[in-house]
Symmetry: C2
Subunit: 495 residues, 2 copies
């Protein structure tokens, strides 16, 4: 190994991490999609053993020396970007003492496990007992990260999912959304009050839904030689870039949500399937951020999938698989897929109400992490904001209120990515439409190449070569500009 | 760690190996049953990385000291047995230099990959080019193992799969079988010449075959909370004891083979599902040997599955799933499942011809490894033995002759385990029948508990606590006695 540069030594370590990560990813997919219940304990122990090993690899003392030495070596721009990403991974792993990681993992497991029944039992007080410790440890983690990186505690957690993004930016962006969103929701509901929507008549057999889903995935360019569609309780996109595993869940009285869920996960999947092949073992080849990942699923689900052209394209497929129904006309499908109805649950929210759920969570979790409020303050704030943003009364209903998400048993700083993703997606499509004035006609005719080619050239193939701002500016001519998102929503819901 | 005994340090290392082995086993199952083609290269690289890591763990210098120190520590009998198995694993891993392991792995991969097309093309000369190197490396491996363990080179390879068994024992046992098997086959064929067998009329839908298979697995006590049934090209039993994954393959013109294949794999599965739970992370909890493993699948397939009582039990299920047919009577099923017809292919062979295929391979691979013959001598010997043992002419037909098995691209010393397994199974059932004179009536009535209880108490729950001879003697009152096998075959095929 004497002739290896420090950079080469680092890439070899990250290649090993990549290989172990592959096995961990497949085992996680299996756990969610295939594993019978009695396999759980042994699987958890095996995964934990691998995590310990990977943590040992990335905290080995020689990596610090190698990182510093590699900075001085002659590297091409792609290697330089890879080194930036390697350092980022290294910092995240090395800034936290092993005891804190273990304490966090135990507290999260306890809180998550109890949450499953506490949510059903509407038991906020019970949840609070575990949640206080989760929050204490998250603040401790955030404090350590913030100390090293500068910025606020919440900034430090946000940065894990959205590198380079500051909470002040998010607050400004979301603050603007709050000035126009409630009004837009109200106007859209007024407009839709006079519409008649025909509900599809079930049952829709799981096998037919699956066949329809597979056909739509094919239209969307999913590579079935490099991935699969299966079933899990919580739909996700997992596996590895060479072998992307997406899941959905089916209800035999409704295919509408499941189909759009497949379209959403296919967006994630095509990003993964199109990451730069030659570099896959290195961090520079990874998806840029959680927000950029979500921008792909939402490009597919919101921009493409709910567009009039796309619904025209798939309307005949729906009839082919389930038999013709009046509900399957493209106009009616468009009404079904753009229906606005404020409700309790984020994951069931429509496109227009969704950002309100996210903004509420961002405001609460930021205040929690930065120490402006305490765990016991959450329900009152939740009730107040739900009423203010969506006009929904959640008082006493913790189950459908602040206990509905799994995130806070473990994760703070992730929620903004959902809405950032929606904003990026709107900005991409504004760019694509400028370049392709006939985009909707092409989509309706089944020519989706303009969308895929643009996303591939500008996002998918770029991996983590650029910072998020650089990536978005290279792709669209400007950094994140939420005006496109507002314009998209106004055009879809008011025009 | 200062207070840990050497034995405790060893068990911790083997627990880590067990956890990594879990991930490797699930990834292997996935590769065979789920993985799309483009996932192959990344999967192979990830698995190889894990193998390297596991080899590093088991060749760490401190293990030798710990093994020697642990021998002097106070251990209970189960720990003592575990230490014996740990030492065995350690020896197998440490006797071979890493370069030899890598060279073997590369030569095997090359030979196996080319074999897939060479078999189809009947290209023995092409195969020979790679096979010479595979054989050279297998002899080198066997030589190193034999040097350390005593015995012949072939003994050393045999011992990997059947600890404690010597090739002279196998030669003696198989030599005896050769004195009576050809005559028994001839008599059975004469007897069957006058029988009329009704063939089932297909097609048999894959979904119905699967439902029938699942129902029969249920009868056989498979725990579906701790395992699955899926499809793969080559049926196998994989996964981990807590989560056993069996596979089969379906043909829609024939359910007979597939159903019996499921019964076979369910025998392997129940062994794994019933290994001693508290010790699962340690070698002492593993299945005793390949021959003992095969004795479980063959207890299910040959002793139980093809028994008159069991076929009476499942005949109505077959009719329930496929609709009634004259072929589904228990008498006719018994004739279908005991039909004797010598042929080219081992995996398609009936119960009576199967040992001839194994004996032929044992004799050839033993002579190859011990240097009595060379790679190019294989086809002539194959032709001669096929004619002598089964009266089948394979001259020039390499595809259905010496190129039919995948084993020799990689593995020598394994074939005897198949027939040893059949012999052990016959010996177990002779014992069970002595204890349960009404066994067949109970089986026909759906009471399979006498079989499962005996296997569980005597084999499954014992793991690797005993040597093979000890295990079999404790279970049946004597070590391997092939007379039970001969008596079983005579009773089934001549009486």
């Amino acid at each position: 190994m004497g002739n290896q540069t420090a950079y080469q030594s680092l890439t070899r370590t990250f290649q090993r991490l990549h290989h172990f990560g592959h096995l961990s990813a497949i085992a996680s997919w299996d756990q969610a999609a295939m594993m019978p219940s009695k396999g759980n304990e042994a699987r958890a122990a095996a995964q934990a053993e691998l995590q310990v090993l990977m943590h040992q690899l990335i905290t080995a003392p020689e990596l610090k020396t190698q990182l510093d030495a590699a900075e001085q070596e002659a590297l091409d721009p792609s290697q330089r970007a890879n080194l930036r990403e390697i350092r980022r991974d290294w910092q995240l792993a090395n800034l936290l003492p092993a005891e804190l990681i273990e304490a966090k993992s135990l507290a999260a497991a306890r809180c998550e496990h109890a949450w499953r029944s506490q949510r059903r039992a509407n038991d906020w007080q019970g949840f609070l007992q575990n949640f206080r410790e989760v929050l204490r440890l998250a603040r401790e983690e955030a404090g350590l990260l913030a100390q090293a990186q500068g910025g606020s505690r919440y900034d430090a957690l946000l940065d894990k999912y959205e590198p380079g993004m500051k909470s002040a930016d998010i607050a400004r962006i979301f603050g603007d959304v709050k000035t126009w969103l409630p009004g837009l929701i109200a106007k859209a509901r007024d407009k839709q009050a006079g519409e008649s929507v025909i509900q599809p008549q079930g049952p829709f057999s799981v096998e037919k839904q699956r066949q329809l889903g597979l056909e739509v995935m094919g239209l969307l360019g999913f590579d079935f030689d490099g991935g699969r569609l299966d079933v899990s309780n919580h739909p996700f996109c997992g596996g590895v870039p060479e072998d992307v595993r997406i899941t959905t869940r089916y209800r035999d009285d409704d295919f509408v949500q499941s189909l759009m869920g497949i379209i959403h996960e296919t967006g994630h999947a095509r990003y993964e399937q199109s990451l730069p092949r030659g570099l896959l073992s290195q961090p520079v080849a990874r998806a840029r951020s959680m927000g950029i990942h979500e921008s792909q699923s939402l490009s597919f689900e919101m921009q493409l999938g709910r567009s009039r052209g796309f619904l025209q394209l798939i309307a005949p497929l729906i009839g082919k698989h389930f038999g013709e129904q009046p509900a399957f006309g493209a106009d009616n499908l468009a009404r079904l897929y753009t229906r606005v109805a404020p409700g309790y649950i984020r994951v069931d929210a429509d496109e227009l109400c969704y950002p309100a759920h996210v903004i509420l969570r961002f405001e609460i979790e930021r205040a929690l992490i930065d120490g402006e409020i305490e765990a016991e303050d959450v329900p009152a704030l939740w009730d107040e904001k739900m009423m203010a943003y969506l006009g929904v009364d959640t008082r006493g209903n913790y189950r459908d209120g602040c206990l509905q998400d799994i995130h806070w048993t473990d994760t703070f700083g992730y929620f903004p990515s959902y809405t950032l993703g929606a904003m990026y997606a709107a900005q991409y499509f504004a760019t694509i439409r400028r370049q392709e004035p006939q985009l909707d006609e092409k989509i309706a005719a089944g020519n989706l190449a303009p969308v895929f080619d643009w996303l591939n050239a500008n996002i998918w193939s770029q991996g983590s070569r650029w910072t998020t701002n650089e990536l978005v500016e290279r792709a669209t001519g400007e950094t994140l500009n939420p005006a496109y998102y507002r314009a998209h929503l106004q055009a879809r819901y008011l025009d």
